[in-house]
């Protein structure tokens, strides 16, 4: 095992500062469209995203640079406030630009490609500690698969980015071209906390408050993990890896137990599964740690981590967002050294082949 003090941060956000920043990366047709029409997503709020004013951009209040650059837009400030501050060996960027939710489908496809090219020029080439996820128009699986194959040629793209609230559950055949391309390129599929579809964002309908949106995000992850397992995605793509990012992990044991129980009764419905549902976790799934689970009795955290599997969790900060986990303070208990090494860097090395 390598340097035990190493730290790999598996969830960091770089932010496109303006629509104009993407113009050099858009074909003339879509540059013109961007200027004259602009982005229209299918999220149902008139005035953009529904994160509350209490946390503008969902960001830490100290993440604006001294020069006034918005959080996640300034590489130098990200180096200073994150990479250097915590001596981070690698950080995985997840750029949450809203290209996958663009209503004009070919424009969304062009936007995703533009974001990826912008990431190469402004983040990946200038800073070798940074790696990134490929942003894809996941509701348009054929061009999404093409974008995966295009970006996989650049060694700093280490993952494919999906969001957990999709038009259909992610195990559905519609999305399989994405998994085929990811498996072929050896890139894990990362599903990252985000919350815009035309469908209600909780299993009980549209909520009133952000605290509900944030808390219930784990339910979207549960639905997607369940769908990917029972639809047979891992049986059809045995080399495919899945990373659940910012969805928590306290719900994993009860979900898998329940899934196994129902499977015993209903396995004739899903004869394509070669294993019990819970058995897919160990070989196919990694989970990032932020927002860290905080059991009322801190010692229960170690029990939970062992139940989820010592090889499963990968540390993440979610910089520059307000619910950032500080690597020095995120765990309420001292982890055993081998477990700490696994979570802070070794599991990420295994997952992303760092």
């Amino acid at each position: 095992m390598s340097n035990p003090a190493a730290l790999i941060d598996c969830d960091v956000h770089n932010v496109v500062p303006s629509a104009a920043a993407l113009h050099p990366y858009l074909p003339a047709r879509w540059r013109s469209y961007s200027e004259k029409v602009g982005t229209r997503t299918y999220l149902p709020y008139l005035n953009g995203y529904h994160y509350p004013k209490v946390s503008r951009g969902a960001a830490r209040v100290d993440a604006w640079s001294p020069e006034g650059h918005a959080p996640g837009t300034d590489l130098d400030f990200l180096r200073k406030q994150l990479l250097d501050e915590y001596d981070i060996e690698y950080a995985v960027l997840n750029c949450l630009y809203r290209a996958p939710e663009e209503r004009n489908e070919p424009y969304g496809v062009a936007l995703a490609s533009a974001v990826n090219d912008w990431q190469v020029d402004h983040w990946l080439e200038p800073e070798k500690r940074l790696r990134a996820s490929v942003l894809i128009p996941f509701e348009s699986p054929a061009p999404a698969a093409a974008e995966i194959r295009r970006c996989a040629q650049h060694p700093s793209f280490v993952q494919v980015l999906l969001f957990p609230r999709t038009k259909e559950p992610l195990g559905r055949r519609k999305y399989w071209p994405i998994y085929e391309a990811a498996a072929e390129c050896g890139l894990p599929i990362g599903i990252h906390f985000s919350s815009t579809t035309a469908s209600p964002i909780t299993a009980g309908g549209w909520p009133s408050f952000y605290i509900e949106d944030h808390t219930m995000m784990s339910v979207a992850f549960q639905a997607q993990l369940t769908s990917l397992i029972v639809e047979g995605v891992f049986d059809s793509f045995p080399r495919l890896k899945l990373v659940l990012i910012e969805g928590g992990f306290g719900w994993i044991p009860s979900l898998l137990r329940r899934l196994d129980d129902v499977y015993e009764r209903a396995r004739d419905e899903v004869p394509h599964l070669r294993r019990r549902p819970s058995e897919y976790l160990r070989d196919h799934v990694k989970i990032t740690t932020q927002p860290m689970e905080e059991p009322e009795r801190p010692r229960d955290l170690i029990e939970l981590i062992n139940e989820v599997g010592p090889e499963t969790l990968m540390f993440s900060t979610d910089y520059p967002h307000w619910d950032f986990d500080n690597p020095r303070r995120a765990f309420q208990v001292r982890l055993p050294a081998d477990l700490e090494n696994r979570i802070m860097h070794q599991n990420a090395r295994d997952c992303y082949a760092f």
Partner: protein, 152 residues
């Protein structure tokens, strides 16, 4: 609030997450002046069929401690439906006698006031607190030996 056939094992992690988010976001919902876990413990009961807790005694013990006690748990058979894990086998046998008595009987007696004085057409005492929600006694014996039903 009673959650029926919902499972129970997911509750601790939801309470942890709600409490953590309440600490970070309570400005948004200032009328909630107690941690959500406390609201849940004060107001929520859950039936235990199907039981989705750990398979071992130690795991069940830890789950009950994380929920806070066995007081929110209500026995249910879910008759005539079938589940792979019967609550008797998977949960009740791992509880102490007192805990088991609460889950199979006392928690429900208290919640539904099954042994409270009730209005009965046969009772000369007439109205009492139950009558305001339109409940009628259906006969003797339901509340068992601790019956407080008024004598005619």
């Amino acid at each position: 609030l009673v959650l029926a056939e919902s499972g129970v094992a997911w509750l601790p992690s939801l309470m942890w997450r709600l409490d953590k988010n309440w600490r970070g976001l309570r400005r948004e919902i200032p009328w909630l002046d107690a941690p959500p876990s406390q609201v849940i413990r004060d107001h929520v009961k859950l039936t235990v069929a199907p039981f989705d807790g750990p398979p071992d005694a130690e795991g069940v013990r830890r789950l009950v401690e994380q929920i806070g006690s066995e007081r929110p748990l209500l026995y249910a058979s879910d008759y005539p439906h079938w589940h792979r894990r019967d609550p008797g086998e998977s949960l009740l046998r791992h509880l102490s006698e007192a805990e088991r008595a609460n889950v199979v009987r006392n928690n429900a007696l208290e919640l539904y006031r099954l042994d409270a004085p009730v209005f009965s057409p046969h009772s000369p005492a007439g109205l009492d607190e139950r009558s305001s929600v339109g409940c009628f006694s259906t006969g003797a014996g339901r509340a068992g030996e601790r019956s407080m039903r008024r004598q005619p």
